[in-house]
Symmetry: C2
């Protein structure tokens, strides 16, 4: 039977296989989020995983290597195709292509895999799942307020109440202050990225990122944005450090009101700032009136979001509980999703811009958080009842037992391997099986089957040494394995499963 094997069984880097516990946890989580989005009036839509490369555009966070970030290949008519790298660019294509027949505003949600052709790392995959919701055709800030409330409601529904905050900023506010700080266009992206790190690094490190560059512990060098120290200082003091903290319910935090006052006092520098500031004020008023306090949705002038296409409000949902990082330091779990307004993205396909705003949840990261907090059932589900095979010639009889159990709605299977009784018991164990059904020739003659209760059996085995009373032991043994009439199989199995 021996033969040469020809191919190595291996998975490409940065791609993962997933087993039953993870799949079931994802299913529950997505269903919970879906119900929240449905309650907000959003409806599902699905687009293919492959799009024309030019339809996707180049809006990856990693703007330095726009082509390296996507998986691309040529169609047989030589046009370039790509695997989608997010769910927003395909939605823009879909809306533009179906513009006239869609209701406007158009609220939709979608969930599915996206792909990044990037260097994988721990927790950083080349295929991962996103769950997005977008509103197209609503120019007012009320749509952004809804996005933030929907984020908050999704977190509450997942059991994360008290462990999250939705942080809100506005690109126009940032643009105003960048203008004031004399940041040039080519410096902007590097500056935004440096500001984005202000929850991770102290001001001295942000200063390096904004000016001459920073070398990390591993020796990797990040190029600086090239600002003067004066400009950098202005940004650090006013954007990265922000307002004083208020104490709300015994917890120190900057309330939205305090942050807005602070912004007006310190960042009020231009017309574009004014526009953004007014939008933030309105958004704050709407969510507060709807009962979302600063502990749940909060204005925060440090929020940036990496994507270049945002044009107005931007938001981020941050999980606030602490975990240990690789170095053993306690750090906040951090962002599990974000979003914002992208009024220009659909306009790429049309003669006029179309207002649009949306949110995106990183499914794996959120699932990791929920698992960490014990909010998902991560235990393997109960396995099937296994009908064992004592006599291969009587497979058809055993199969009838299995069919009877299944027809009664009981999860059941026939042992399909070639091994003997001991290996079959081991198999039941690996399958997390609650009961094994056994019928040898003696039982068959008597018209009986044995039910072996594997949970009680394991319990008895664990306690065997401590049971000294012979009758007690016999009683427990009789509960762990007993004969029943063949015609009572289904009823007795159902009773044993409880």
């Amino acid at each position: 039977m021996s033969k040469p094997k020809t191919t190595e069984a291996r998975r490409p880097r940065g791609l993962e296989d997933r087993g039953p516990a993870a799949i079931e946890a994802t299913r529950q989580m997505l269903e919970t989020i879906r119900q929240v989005y449905e309650r907000y009036g959003f409806e599902p839509v699905e687009t293919p995983l492959i799009e024309y490369t030019d339809a996707l555009g180049k809006f990856l966070p990693d703007q330095d290597r726009p082509n390296a970030g996507v998986f691309s290949f040529q169609d047989d008519d030589e046009q370039w195709l790509s695997l989608r790298y997010d769910l927003t660019a395909p939605l823009a294509r879909y809306v533009a292509e179906n513009f006239d027949r869609l209701p406007k505003p158009y609220r939709s949600y979608r969930v599915g895999p996206v792909f990044r052709n990037e260097k994988p790392g721990p927790g950083r995959f080349r295929q991962f799942m996103q769950f997005d919701a977008d509103t197209v055709g609503a120019s007012g800030v009320a749509a952004d307020a809804e996005n933030c409330m929907m984020f908050a409601d999704a977190m509450e529904a997942l059991g994360l109440g008290g462990n999250y905050v939705v942080k809100v900023n506005n690109r126009k506010v940032l643009d105003g202050i960048l203008e004031y700080a004399k940041v040039e266009d080519h410096q902007k992206l590097a500056v935004l990225r440096a500001i984005d790190k202000s929850d991770k690094f102290p001001p001295s490190e942000i200063m390096l990122l904004l000016t001459t560059g920073r070398k990390d512990e591993s020796g990797d060098f990040t190029k600086g944005a090239g600002l003067t120290e004066q400009s950098a200082d202005l940004l650090i003091r006013n954007v990265c450090m922000g307002p004083m903290l208020d104490v709300v319910d015994g917890v120190a935090m900057p309330t939205s009101r305090r942050t807005l006052e602070y912004m007006q006092a310190n960042l009020n520098t231009s017309n574009v700032f004014d526009e953004g500031f007014n939008e933030l004020s309105q958004l704050s008023k709407i969510v507060e009136a709807a009962g979302y306090g600063s502990d749940r949705i909060r204005i925060d002038q440090t929020v940036v979001r990496g994507l270049e296409y945002y044009t107005g409000p931007v938001y981020e949902v941050e999980l606030t509980f602490e975990v240990e990082d690789e170095g053993g330091q306690k750090v906040r779990f951090g962002s599990v999703g974000g979003g914002g307004r992208y009024d220009g993205l659909i306009g790429r396909f049309r003669a006029e811009d179309v207002p649009a705003t949306g949110i995106s949840i990183g499914v794996s990261r959120l699932q990791a958080a929920l698992t960490h907090l014990g909010k998902l059932t991560s235990a393997a589900p109960r396995g099937p009842v296994v009908v064992t095979v004592m006599d291969k010639a009587r497979i058809a009889d055993y199969q009838v037992m299995v069919s009877e159990l299944r027809n009664a709605g009981i999860r059941a299977e026939l042992y399909l391997g070639d091994s003997g009784f001991k290996a079959q018991m081991k198999y039941c164990d690996r399958r997390n099986s609650p009961l094994a059904i056994i019928q040898g020739s003696d039982e068959a003659e008597r018209g009986e089957v044995q039910i072996k209760d594997l949970v009680k059996g394991a319990d008895l085995a664990a306690r065997a040494k401590s049971i000294t009373d012979r009758e007690e032991y016999q009683r427990l043994s009789a509960e762990a394995q007993y004969a029943v009439k063949r015609e009572e199989l289904v009823a007795k199995v159902r009773a044993a499963l409880g």
Copy 2:
């Protein structure tokens, strides 16, 4: 505001967008199948959409163009990657890579998109969904019998009872007769494909496919298998035409028993036939004992299945109701899935072969059938309650109403567009909204809101001309729109939704 549009919004050929009704129908259908597979003791597993090209192997039905059939691209280390073209090849890789830690037999199911880089056509997509279940490590025919019964149970659960049959054959039986008919190895695939068409074409056309080739109405030429007329005749008489029909419950059909008798009388030509025939007999015995008659699972010597990797039993689930084809001819709906034993596929990665057998459902095709038979709710679901905007300055107040409704579990949304009242009513209509909530300044002063029942309103509008009694009309109008106290909003909306 006018600007040049830069990109055309278009979708690559053979890829589809899907809306709410189709997505909901798929969700229900997959959930039903999933429950059946779970009851059979199968557990879910997911693999990535991208695999190493060599790990997938070249097992496409279209063996003539093995590379053209898959979407492939090079990784940055120059290794070739491909999008998976089915769910079996990735499972083989997964099992081989995790062989020692998996229980054996290992029963698993998976659902997801697969990709074919082929010429798309009507109902033929380059991305489509499959739902597979496989048992690895079970060499006996009992595992194949289970596959057939699980197929049948899934069809029953979907409401297709009486409209399907699972047809079963064995590759070894076919191999026996091909050997007897002196078919050479290089002719085998073309011969199998010709036989596979025997439910579509009359014997005269099959004769052409088996010998010199066949030109279809459009002028396309299919190369013949190159058999002599004598060999071809032998195959057509004994394989394509098959046994006499029995009458079962008033329906004429070849029962499994009759087909088995026929096979033994007419095809019994070699040892390899014998082996296959015994497997078929055993399988037939098991499914009959479990209560699956020939109307549900039936031995059929014409079943071939296109994939080259099958090594034993092969099966196909055929829907038997009739639909009209493009030419207006009544034809059976046909196959929605198939499967079989592939004992060599995992062995590609290992020093020894590993027995394996599985089934695959074509999700879109099955969904098309269920939709055709009205077995899926294809109607758009009820839309949200829409809170209209009468005064933009009071958005926050309207949002509070929406939040109250949502917190009570009622699907609701704020109108987020910029249009006036009439357009808002039109929007409600397009959204299939049951109720609109209206609060102008008068109502606000009185502490009231108007509830507009859009279903009753539409009903009244349709009947308006036939209602001559003024009081009757006023009574109906009052039911279609009425004022309620602001604080009673949730209770009254709930009552109106019933």
